[in-house]
């Protein structure tokens, strides 16, 4: 056994000893498997002979010929063992079966390229099959199973996009609004990782291992807690059209969006004592002395739109980060609206070593999101943060295979 350095001894790897097979191309599946890898599992990723199509998705670390290098792919797959197989070949399919027999967990993308092979394994290879998570747009069961979709589409059919644009003044001109960035794919991946641990912990020796059906549509329906509660409490308006008395109160209390001279803030001085400190920060404007306008939480709720206009007159002359610091100093919940550029220089994120680093041959580095929690074991081992990970290439890895299978596997 290789000697373990003191640093490595202190690394916490809660999923050490777990081997995961990732098959199929999707951000959701890649993210689910990545999370298990970040927690210490060994992940083997099977790509087509031409490579995962995500290798062609930007942003790119370099666009130099002959091949551009996808930072997105690197972020999702750093630390995995990447191999390529021609799943159209019987021998390659046999290899997948063999690999599955050597893994504790399989994460599948139920797309047109893999679904028939998946069905084979479910039907015929059950004794060799590990606990299996299957990720698809609409699930494996139900009238819409197998339809063409994606996480982006599923956030609409699953209701989240509709309720993210609810209420609006003009429903016919304001479409339902999707999640930011790659969130739709990523959240399905996060659910997939949870489901994977459920499957792993549910698997028992000698019994068929569970097959877990992760539907992107279910994932978004799962988020509709407030819509479901409001509907059943009779508080949900019949359409997306904003009613005359629908203000800007959102769950938990009043929240105001206020433009600043150099950006914007969101602030929630919801309690009376917080409101008093907030108005003092604004210089005690005369309007703040009107009890009918803002003397109680109820008054502020009724007059929220009018108050927004009045506060915006002040905030437009202020710098967002200065207001944020001053408000927090007096215990008023207030934050600037960050831009993407703000994130990678955020003091709090940097202090907590939230970002890992993806490195391309040691020559080009890029910060990438890490795990959002710190974990310390009772023996003092810590989950690593601020890790430096090499870009995953097909050529990097070696995997045992028989000679007669070699032409179908790129290792």
């Amino acid at each position: 056994m290789a000697e373990v350095s003191p640093k490595e001894r202190s690394d916490l790897r809660p999923l050490a000893g777990v081997r995961v097979l990732e098959l199929g191309s999707s951000i959701s599946a890649a993210f689910a498997a990545k999370l298990l890898g970040d927690l210490g599992a060994e992940v083997i990723k099977v790509e087509p002979m031409s490579g995962d199509p995500l290798r062609q998705q930007g942003p790119f670390m370099t666009s130099a010929v002959p091949e551009s290098v996808s930072a997105l792919f690197g972020y999702l797959n750093a630390g995995k063992r990447c191999i390529s197989l021609d799943l159209g070949a019987d021998v390659a399919r046999a290899m997948v079966t063999m690999l599955m027999g050597r893994c504790d967990l399989a994460i599948w993308v139920a797309d047109d390229a893999t679904v028939s092979h998946l069905q084979d394994l479910i039907d015929r290879e059950r004794p060799q099959r590990p606990a299996t998570v299957v990720i698809s747009p609409f699930g494996l069961k139900g009238p819409r199973a197998g339809r063409a979709g994606s996480a982006y589409v599923a956030q609409h059919s699953g209701g989240l996009a509709y309720h993210q644009a609810y209420p609006v003044n003009d429903p016919s001109a304001t479409p339902p609004t999707g999640c930011a960035d790659r969130e739709a794919d990523m959240i399905v991946g996060l659910v997939g990782a949870n489901a994977a641990l459920w499957a792993l912990m549910s698997a028992t020796d000698g019994a068929p291992k569970p097959i877990v059906d992760v539907s992107a549509e279910d994932t978004f329906a799962y988020f509709l807690v407030d819509a479901l509660a409001d509907l059943k409490d009779g508080k949900l308006a019949p359409s997306r059209k904003r009613l005359p008395d629908q203000g800007i109160t959102v769950a938990g209390g009043l929240i105001w969006f206020l433009p600043c001279a150099d950006g914007a803030i969101m602030v929630s001085p919801r309690e009376d004592h917080q409101w008093a400190r907030w108005t003092e920060l604004m210089g005690n404007p005369a309007w703040a002395n009107d009890p009918a306008l803002c003397g109680s939480r109820a008054a502020r709720t009724v007059n929220s739109a009018q108050l927004q206009v009045l506060m915006a007159q002040w905030s437009a002359t202020q710098k967002a980060h200065e207001v944020f610091r001053k408000a927090q100093a007096i215990r008023v919940a207030c934050f600037p609206v960050s831009t993407p550029a703000d994130l990678v220089r955020n003091d709090q994120l940097l202090a907590r070593q939230f970002f890992d680093t993806l490195t391309l041959d040691g020559a080009r580095d890029v910060a990438m999101p890490g795990l959002p929690f710190r974990m310390l074991s009772s023996s003092g081992a810590t989950l690593q943060h601020g890790r430096r990970r090499s870009f995953p290439t097909l050529e990097d890895q070696e995997l045992e295979c028989r000679d007669d299978q070699a032409e179908h596997v790129h290792v």
Binding site: P14, L15, A16, P59, V133, R147, A148, G149, Y152, V153, A154, H156, S157, G159, Q164, Y166, N169, T177, G178, A180, D181, M186, I187, N194, A195, L197, L200, M201, L224, V225, D226, A227, L228, D230, L231, L236, R240, K241, V250, I255, F257, P259, M266, Q328, R331, A333, F335, V337, P340, L343, V344, Q348, A351, V366, P369, P372, M375, S378, S379, A381
Partner: protein, 398 residues
């Protein structure tokens, strides 16, 4: 006592035998512990009989506090703290999301509790994390959507917060999923090594962790190309398109060449399929606005049902955009049994995944306040009726 009858079927109660002491409130922690309860863990929710917010059991509470027992006690008293330590000594996981100093001030922090349970898994969720220069800032999940950058990537900023993704809650449910993931990983680590864990979970990080495109572009010094909320990043055409009905919209996303050819067949545009300047995805991405307008024109002349049928006939990723009313009546989701009426008929939501038998774990009604005091103080801690009465009189338990 709460109704703790497991659902019929082959429920995977893989966390049976795990006991969780749940101090969490609002949304993130409760959603995480509901999920652990669905997987078989016994959740003991510690609540206050004195604070009025704990008496509210309708609305959100009923949807996110299933699968739990409720016990009420006063954690600010030394006697109440001693009872907590006794409960923790027989438990496996502690979950909390108080402001930064509450549990430590009440002698119930991680260092206090590991003295009575050395292998305890202690999860502390907070807005910005328990370390760092901003650890004590006052934060709500909705505001962290601004600080995380998410708000700047959804819709257009407006005074009325319209279509900016502020609702439904995002940061809290997302945090809950990270929380349950971390707890399950820690449980597996404990099973393998006998070691407990301390977990410090940041809601800010939980949100930023799902924004890789923005982070990577910024880290590379490149401007963000697409926000993602109006159409799928890297797909063209992609977006949500208006059909003939007043509020009828269909989401469509064309990610690769085969789907592009399929779309061209579906909308009857062989000329586009044959156009060499549109054959490759990068070229289509450059003309995303133009291609979206072509698709928008096609959708605008059709009913939602016709558009969906035509697109799906060629296997173009597509689906209507729908609200909760439609979802509850949807045969597909009904067969998948994710929304359920339980107990007295209140609706709730089961686990967001299912096994091959259709099982989504347990889904029991949320408990009444203090419904399980007898179980916790009598059965678990072995306190006599006289002792319980004495503690009630003293205001230690309710």
């Amino acid at each position: 006592m709460s109704d703790f009858t497991p659902a019929a079927g082959t429920t995977k109660l893989c966390l049976s035998g795990i006991r969780v002491v749940d101090f969490s409130w609002v949304v993130a922690g409760p959603m995480a512990t509901k999920r652990l309860g669905a997987m078989g863990a016994e959740i003991i929710k510690i609540e206050s009989a004195a604070r009025p917010e704990f008496s509210y059991r309708d609305g959100w509470y009923a949807v996110i506090n299933n699968n739990k027992r409720s016990c009420t006690l006063n954690i600010t008293s030394p006697e109440g703290q001693d009872l907590i330590r006794q409960i923790v000594a027989g438990s496996d996981v502690v979950v909390e999301n108080f402001s930064s100093r509450v549990l430590a001030k009440n002698n119930l922090g991680y260092e206090d509790l590991r003295k009575v349970k050395p292998d305890i898994i202690f999860v502390s969720a907070s807005g910005l994390g328990r370390t760092g220069p901003e650890r004590d800032m006052l934060a709500y999940g909705s505001l962290l959507q601004a600080y995380s950058g998410r708000v700047s990537l959804i819709g257009s900023m407006s005074a009325s917060l319209e279509a900016m993704g502020i609702m439904p809650a995002w940061t809290d449910p997302v945090t809950s999923l990270w929380e349950s993931l971390a707890i399950m990983a820690a449980l597996r680590h404990r099973a393998a090594t006998g070691e407990g864990s301390y977990i410090d979970l940041s809601m800010l990080e939980a949100t930023v962790a799902l924004l890789p495109d923005a982070v990577l572009h910024s880290a590379l010094g490149q401007p963000t190309q697409e926000k993602g909320s109006e159409g799928e990043i890297g797909a063209a055409p992609s977006g949500c398109f208006k059909c003939l009905g007043e509020d009828d919209w269909i989401a469509v996303s064309v990610r690769h060449d085969a789907e592009w050819q399929a779309l061209c067949r579906a909308i009857g545009r062989p000329d586009l399929a044959d156009n060499p300047t549109l054959r490759d995805r990068p070229d289509r991405l450059k003309r995303k606005g133009e291609l979206n307008r072509v698709l928008a024109d096609w959708c605008a002349k059709r009913t939602l049902a016709d558009a969906e049928t035509g697109l799906q006939a060629e296997r173009v990723p597509s689906a209507p955009s729908r609200g909760i009313r439609d979802l509850l009546g949807d045969p597909h989701l009904q067969e998948r049994d994710i929304f359920r009426q339980i107990g007295d008929g209140r609706w709730s939501i089961a686990l967001p995944w299912m096994d091959e038998t259709g099982s989504r774990g347990k889904l029991a009604p949320a408990p009444a306040l203090g419904a399980d005091n007898d179980y916790v103080f009598g059965t678990l801690l072995g306190l006599s009726s006289d002792k319980q009465a004495e503690l009630k009189t003293a205001g230690i338990i309710a």
